[in-house]
C-alpha cells in the first residue's frame, strides 16, 4: 500500500504509548535555514542550505486526560522539558518493522488545554520547538528513520533475520531510539547490523548501537547516537539480552546519518 490513514500511526513519548490520547501529530517539518536576503529579481540559481537543519515535531493535539501516570495532563502539563518522541507510521495496519518513523528529542514549549470544538471531549495542545534540543542530534540533522521493533513484548533474544533492509551500507553513523513501555528487572538493548541477512552474520557483526539504560522496571526512553562516519551495514535488527527481566515491552528504531 502506497498511502495510509492516520489511524495507523502510533506515538511514543518518553516510554509512554500516547496514541489513545492523541488526535493528530505534526506537521512534521524538516527544513534547513536558507538565505533570506535574495530579492525577487536576484538571479538565484540555487539556495545553499546554511546553518542548522531544523526538524520539528510541530504539535501534538490530544485529549485533556487526567489519568494517573499515563494521561496527557499527568505527563505533559509542565512544559519546558525535553522529550524523546517516536511517531511511527503504519501502512494499512499498525506500524511494523521497516515502517517510517519521525523521531528525536524536542523541547515542549507549552501545554494548552482549549475549549472543545463542536461539543466534544476537552482537547489539549502541546507545541514543540524546531531545534535539536539537548541531544546529540546536533550531529545528525535527520529525524526520519525506520522502525525496527514495533510495540510488543519480548521474552528472549532475537535470532531472526533483519528487521529492516536499507538496500546498501552507509558510512555516516546515525542514532537509535528506544522506548521501554513495560518490563521487570534489567535488560540490555542493542541494534545489530550485518552485510548478510542471516542470524549467524548478525551475531558476528555485533552491535552498532548499545543503549545505556538497563533498568526496565518502569517506562523510560533513550536516544543513543554513534560516531559520525561510523559504517552501518545494510541490514539491521533489534536485539535484547535479558538480565533479571523475564519480559520487556518496547519500541526501537534507527535513523541513519546522511
Amino acid at each position: 500500500m502506497s498511502k495510509t490513514h492516520e489511524k495507523y500511526s502510533r506515538l511514543y513519548v518518553d516510554g509512554y504509548h500516547l496514541s489513545a490520547h492523541v488526535l493528530t501529530v505534526g506537521p512534521l517539518v524538516a527544513e534547513h535555514e536558507a538565505e533570506a536576503q535574495a530579492c525577487l529579481n536576484d538571479a538565484v540559481k540555487a539556495v545553499k542550505a546554511i546553518g542548522h537543519y531544523m526538524p520539528s515535531l510541530g504539535a501534538i493535539n490530544g485529549l485533556f486526560d487526567n489519568t494517573a501516570t499515563t494521561g496527557l495532563h499527568t505527563l505533559h502539563s509542565a512544559a519546558g522539558g525535553g522529550h524523546d518522541v517516536t511517531y511511527a507510521i503504519g501502512f494499512g495496519a499498525v506500524p511494523a518493522a521497516g515502517d517510517p518513523i519521525f523521531c528525536g528529542r524536542w523541547l515542549q514549549v507549552d501545554y494548552i488545554p482549549a475549549p472543545a470544538v463542536g461539543g466534544g471531549a476537552l482537547p489539549a495542545v502541546l507545541n514543540f520547538n524546531n531545534s535539536a534540543y539537548d541531544f546529540e542530534n546536533g550531529a545528525y540533522p535527520q529525524s526520519w528513520g525506520r522502525l525496527l521493533h514495533p510495540s510488543g513484548a519480548e521474552t528472549a533474544v532475537n535470532s531472526g533475520t533483519a528487521n529492516h533492509d536499507h538496500g546498501a551500507q552507509t558510512t555516516a553513523g546515525g542514532f537509535g531510539i528506544l522506548h521501554v513501555l513495560a518490563g521487570n528487572g534489567t535488560a540490555t538493548f542493542t541494534i545489530e547490523h550485518s552485510d548478510t541477512n542471516a542470524d549467524a552474520n548478525f551475531d558476528a557483526g555485533g552491535a552498532v548501537v548499545t543503549f545505556d539504560t538497563t533498568d526496565v522496571s518502569s517506562p523510560f526512553s533513550e536516544i543513543k547516537a554513534i560516531a559520525t562516519g561510523t559504517t552501518v551495514e545494510r541490514y539491521l535488527r533489534w536485539q535484547i539480552a535479558l538480565g533479571t527481566a523475564t519480559t520487556v515491552t518496547f519500541v526501537m528504531g534507527f535513523v541513519r546519518g546522511r
Binding site: M1, S2, K3, H5, K7
Partner: protein, 151 residues
Amino acid sequence: MSAIQVKEMAASIKSAISVSGLTVYDLSGIRTRITIGDGPILMPNPNGFVTNLNIIQDSLGAGSLGGERSTRYTLNYTLFYSAVSEGGLNFSVYNLMVAMAVDIIDAFVADDDIGAAIDIEPRIVRVGAVYDPTGNVFHGAEIALDILEFL
C-alpha cells in the same frame, strides 16, 4: 487503481459482524418479504443501499498517468427486529430492539477494519417503524455505515 469494493464490503460485513441473536445478510440474501418469527435481521436496504459515493482525488495524475484516489460512500442497512403487529401492537420488545441496534454499532466500533474499508463510521439514522420490501412493518432501525476506501 483498485475497483470499488461495494459488493465485497457487504459480504465482508456479513462475515465480520457477530451480534447475539442477529442474522446479517449480504446482497445475495436480500429478502422480498420478512415473515413474523424470522428473528432479528440486519439486511442491506434494497431501496438505497449505496448513497453518497464520491471519488476523492488524493494526488496529481489522472487516466493513464495514474494518480491516487480514494472513495467515500455510505452503505445503508435495516434492522428488522420483530413485527409490530406480533401479538397485537407490541412495544414490549422496543427496548430490546434499541439495545440490539446499539450492539450493532458497538460491533462496528470494535472492528472497523473490515474488508477493503480503511475506515468505517457507523451511525444509527433512525429507530422506529421499518418496512420490508412488501410493506410489512417491523420494530427496527436504519443503520448507515460511512466507509472510506483507498483505490
